[in-house]
């Protein structure tokens, strides 16, 4: 493999690609950790409502639930497209 890499010119090692991809997906998973089971459904339905009025991308919505001691905050971030 090394000889082959040398002949083809150095390319990015597959293990470091794996690491980068995992760091992103694991960070995403942890964001959802401990959330109620209805969150993905809620996110989907909110997105549908918003899309009735504004054309936004599937991934333009970001929803999170933060709990402190005695209150929970549902945070909803929607990136709207540029006008004009």
């Amino acid at each position: 493999m090394r000889l082959l890499d040398f002949l083809k010119g150095e390319r990015k090692k597959s293990a470091s690609v794996a690491k980068e991809r995992l760091q992103i997906i694991v960070a995403h998973q942890r964001g959802h950790r401990g959330q109620p089971d209805y969150m993905p459904m809620l996110e989907q339905e909110l997105l549908e409502v918003i899309r009735r009025y504004v054309q936004v991308e599937q991934d333009a919505i970001n929803i999170s639930l933060d709990s402190d001691n005695d209150c929970s905050v549902l945070e909803l971030n929607v990136t709207l497209p540029n006008r004009g």
């Binding site: 493999m1 090394r2 090692k13 794996a18 694991v26 998973q29 401990g34």
Partner: protein
């Protein structure tokens, strides 16, 4: 009171049963009264790996449903007198396991044993959740491969939310990372995640590193847990893992590449024996 340790992973085929068998055997060889329970109802395999498949009469589901007593279902290991096996049922469906039933079995076993090792089924469904629910510690078996690492992270999420310790706000389940099928030569070539990367991504302590080894298949062929093969690298790596589980400080082995000839390096390969 026994210590309950679940061997889990999320992904299938990463070495849960191999590891559960090796760890349980190792704990027993070190003088601990140990029982290893197969939670994979419908797809039992621990009995094969432990080499007691022809001695299974009753199983976990029989005990839970009151059709047999614990003493009738427990199989005494041929090689170590401190070790017992509680097989899974091969015929019932997974719904046959109940939370109350599992709690009762673990409670009864707790009185007689030092360690209870729960061999979890793959997945995150009922069987896997029941296997981990009562655990004090968890050994998360992970291969150096993207889907295995991601699934391990999912399991860690469940351990921190769906275990009895989490639900009762007690000290959390102690989580340990066990990396299996590690090939240092491929790590050196940049084609396999290295152990530091995996540990960093999952953010838990490493309890052991098992190299990819021909001894593992040889052991399962024969129905003898690989830890009995104390000449093999995998057997020794599991023995180290058991020592660490018992609280000893043992240096990590088998993490660096063997010297290979030019031809081997050019064409890859180099599994350990």
């Amino acid at each position: 009171m026994a210590k309950i340790i679940v061997v889990t992973s999320g992904k299938g085929g990463v070495g849960k049963t191999t590891s559960a068998a090796a760890i349980a055997t190792g704990l027993a060889l070190r003088g601990n009264k140990t029982v290893v329970i197969d939670f994979d109802v419908g797809l039992r395999n621990l009995d094969l790996i432990m080499g007691c498949e022809r001695r299974v009469v009753y199983d976990l589901v029989n005990v839970i449903q009151g059709e047999a007593g614990l003493n009738q279902a427990l199989i005494r290991d041929k090689r170590s007198e401190n070790l017992h096996i509680l097989p899974a049922s091969q015929t019932r469906d997974k719904d046959a396991l109940t939370l109350e039933g599992v709690e009762k079995v673990l409670g009864d076993l707790s009185e007689d044993f030092d360690y209870i090792i729960c061999d979890s089924p793959a997945g995150i469904e009922r069987g896997a959740q029941l296997a981990m629910y009562f655990a004090d510690e968890a050994v998360v078996v992970t291969n150096p491969e993207v889907s295995s690492v991601r699934d391990s992270d999912r399991i860690l999420g469940l351990l921190s939310s769906k275990s009895r310790r989490a639900e009762q706000n007690r000290d959390p389940v102690k989580e340990h990372l066990l990396i299996t099928r590690y090939n240092p030569n491929r790590v050196d070539d940049g084609d396999m995640l290295n152990l530091e990367d995996i540990r960093e991504i999952l953010a838990i302590d490493l309890i052991g590193l098992i190299p990819e080894s021909e001894a593992v298949l040889r052991a399962s062929n024969q129905g003898v847990p690989v830890i009995h093969d104390d000449k093999s690298d995998a057997g020794q790596a599991y023995a180290d893992t058991v020592s660490r589980l018992m609280g000893e400080d043992v240096p990590l082995r088998f993490h660096s590449a063997q010297k290979r000839g030019l031809i081997a390096r050019m064409f890859g390969g180099g599994a350990r024996r």
